[in-house]
């Protein structure tokens, strides 16, 4: 006899639950959080430094968290904008989790902060599974990365509220095929807006800030088809479901003491 329990819980229910609480706390403090996802070296820090500087010039209160496996270099670069910045060292972890963001929100985030940018670990796979309580998820890639990248990383691009193409100043030099890229994005995330930016020329910096401020002002973000349900709509957060356990005893036909098998 082997007892079986149908659980049907999200594997990441704990992170999802913490993210839901964090989202509520951020809303209470009137902070709009933006989660930035890309491969290593796509230009997140370079673009964010300009966005922070521009936001301050436009009289907005902004702050940033930047996550890296090691080194505080990105935090130092971002701090040049004058905005409050914190580095999160993930100690080898390939993504940020809600608990890490929450700890910094409680201990450090200045009041008032209207916009909080979170630069995730450079990685297009792992961070895509972890909700950080953000209102806006932005997935970036640079013109040097290959037009079909959205098809190779559909979860990251398909769940984005906004897609940003970076380093457009060198697009011609590397022969970037913009039409192929646009088709690939549209294929996994119909209707998502693509912004084109350059940290060298400043292209797109104000537009990106405009989009973030619009959402902070109450404009509903694009609803990506691949977004996890809790990221799709406001106010539909589900904490971990613990009360749905359904137990049933059934014989799997392997006698009294089930023989454990290795995975």
């Amino acid at each position: 006899m082997c007892r079986s329990v149908d659980v049907r819980t999200a594997v990441l229910a704990k992170n999802d639950g913490l993210a839901a609480e964090l989202r509520a706390e951020l809303a209470r403090r009137r902070v709009t959080a933006v989660n930035l996802l890309s491969s290593p070296g796509s230009g997140k820090t370079a673009l964010l430094e300009l966005v922070l500087r521009r936001a301050r010039e436009r009289g907005q209160t902004v702050a940033a968290l930047t996550a890296d496996l090691a080194t505080e270099n990105d935090a130092r670069r971002l701090a040049r904008s004058g905005a409050p910045v914190r580095q999160v060292l993930t100690g080898g972890l390939c993504h940020l989790e809600s608990a890490q963001v929450r700890a910094l929100i409680d201990d450090w985030l200045p009041d008032p902060t209207r916009l909080l940018f979170v630069e995730n670990v450079g990685n297009l796979v792992c961070p895509a599974s972890y909700d950080l309580g953000e209102t806006l998820r932005v997935t970036l890639m640079s013109v040097t990365e290959g037009e079909d990248k959205p098809l190779k990383y559909p979860t990251a691009f398909g769940a984005a509220h906004l897609v940003v193409l970076t380093k457009t100043d060198i697009a011609d030099a590397v022969g970037f095929d913009d039409a192929a890229f646009t088709t690939a994005v549209e294929r996994v995330n119909p209707g998502v807006e693509i912004l084109r930016t350059s940290a060298r020329t400043g292209q797109g910096v104000d537009t990106l800030l405009d989009r973030v401020l619009a959402v902070a002002g109450g404009v509903a973000p694009h609803a990506p088809l691949l977004a996890a349900k809790h990221l799709r709509a406001h106010g539909h957060d589900h904490g971990p479901a613990q009360d749905r356990h359904h137990e049933h005893d059934h014989d799997h036909g392997h006698g009294r003491a089930p023989r454990p098998t290795t995975a």
């Binding site: 007892r3 704990k14 599974s129 098809l151 996994v188 209707g191 089930p258 098998t261």
Partner: protein, 117 residues
């Protein structure tokens, strides 16, 4: 390799379920993983056996049910397989999907416990 973190989350939840039900060993777990969940089943299997070592899930069987990604057309309401690489556009009328029906699952479906002590 977030499969390690995911495996750790699986082990932790399954141990909680076992504890709640007074069992001290888990014989097996079943996971449902969507095609678009961003998790590689083979990597997860590998991580699972590592993470399970020395826990109530040591030696437990890991069954992974892969869930195909399916969407509903926003134009003609057809249900279609999103395919690989994914296309969220209707193969019948070329309209964008209105909804992803399945494919993002990352669920602990079942925990099988060895008989009570």
């Amino acid at each position: 390799m977030h499969e390690l973190s995911i495996a750790a989350a699986v082990v932790e939840s399954a141990e909680d379920v076992a504890r709640e039900h007074g069992a001290d060993a888990v014989a097996g777990v079943t996971l449902r993983i969507g095609e678009l969940a961003g998790v590689v089943p083979d990597a997860l299997r590998f991580s699972f056996s590592l993470v399970a070592e020395g826990t109530a899930l040591d030696g437990a069987e890991l069954v992974i049910e892969e869930v195909p990604a399916r969407a509903r057309c926003g134009g003609c309401d057809a249900r279609f397989a999103v395919g690989s690489p994914p296309a969220l556009w209707c193969p019948h009328c070329d309209t964008a999907a209105a909804e992803l029906l399945t494919g993002r699952e990352l669920e602990l479906a079942e925990v099988r416990m060895a008989g009570s002590p």
